[in-house]
Symmetry: C2
């Protein structure tokens, strides 16, 4: 595999996902940090060379190939490994959770963490304030759906760790920083503990 | 392959994607229609049997397997076919566009179509009204990014049709119903024409 460079903001759960996937696979990653609050991913250099969409993470492969979108980068790293199910339905079902994470979980659970910790709830714009109750309710619904799913199984898709667990762990395990309580979700908390106890696990601060 | 049943709302671009993928693969789909405006995907039966997330589309495989999330359903259908690149980087790059579609395109371009045509801009809630300018700007930015990408290539990922083209076509080709003009995007319009001219293409109304 070509040398891997992760263009990232380390505290972002989307970036952590990729580091966690690499850790489980034993792959070394070179890391380059950008301050998203200072707009370092919106410079002409970043937009022209790394990602025209102006976002991190981006996984760079060798010198010429750049892969934005966290879950796509995780898929690239894990392709062919046991982190992606070998059964056709289970593979698609894993992708189901990755898409669900980006549509139903991240825009609510991750956004409230960002608004709370980085922007500050007192500094939100009028539009952000107006969106807050719906985002909180949608985030709680996402956590509840995960808890319900995990009540009957140890891992999201098959009887072992897959990318679905890694992608969903990233923002769920720091959801309390966004004002979400995990107390109502015992199956979800047990799964968080199982994740953190895996031999190759690394914390978001690593 | 087990018998395929698509639980859908036919006018939804997310449902159309799956029908378009099946058409390109020559796969027959049985279709079951739900009226989302009347809440037919939030009944106890639907939530218990089809999708706990209360959303369509869901692809049913045989009697027991249900696959929510449009792009995951497309992946299941196309797995092993030429609609998914055989090269590892290109395969992940295709997934990059599928995740980008769900995060940057659909919540803006599709949502404004839904608000305009199904709800009516005069009937939007206060929060929806507050979100409208940002959603319009983000939708325009998504269309502009697609146009810029297509200025240098005929298809999104490799030199032929992949799921990235199909997923992005679904809501882009009806973006004008949400008040977006496609006039500023000549490369994007040429790609829409290429898509519609493909031998197995079917329209959203089929």
């Amino acid at each position: 595999m070509a040398a891997l460079v992760l263009h990232e903001y380390a505290a972002s759960g989307n970036c952590y996902k990729i580091r966690l996937t690499a850790a489980h696979l034993g792959l070394p990653l070179e890391r380059r940090e950008y301050d998203i609050v200072k707009g370092e991913t919106r410079t002409p250099e970043f937009l022209g060379q790394v990602n025209a969409n102006g976002r991190i993470p981006v996984l760079q492969l060798g010198t010429d190939d750049f892969l934005p979108e966290s879950n796509a980068a995780c898929f690239y790293l894990a392709d062919g490994s046991d982190l992606i199910p070998h059964d056709r339905f289970a593979r698609a079902d894993m992708l189901r959770w990755l898409f669900w994470e980006q549509y139903n979980h991240e825009p609510n659970v991750a956004t409230l963490r960002f608004w709370t910790v980085w922007i500050g709830l007192d500094n939100l714009s009028e539009v952000q304030c107006a969106m807050l109750p719906a985002k909180r309710a949608a985030g709680e619904a996402a956590l509840a759906l995960m808890d319900e799913h995990l009540a009957k199984r140890d891992w999201f898709v098959i009887d072992r760790l897959t990318l679905a667990d890694i992608a969903l762990y990233a923002y769920t395990h720091v959801a309390e920083a966004g004002g979400f309580s995990l107390q109502p979700y015992p199956a979800l908390r047990a799964w968080l503990d199982r994740m953190a106890a895996l031999p190759r696990h690394i914390p978001i601060t690593a």
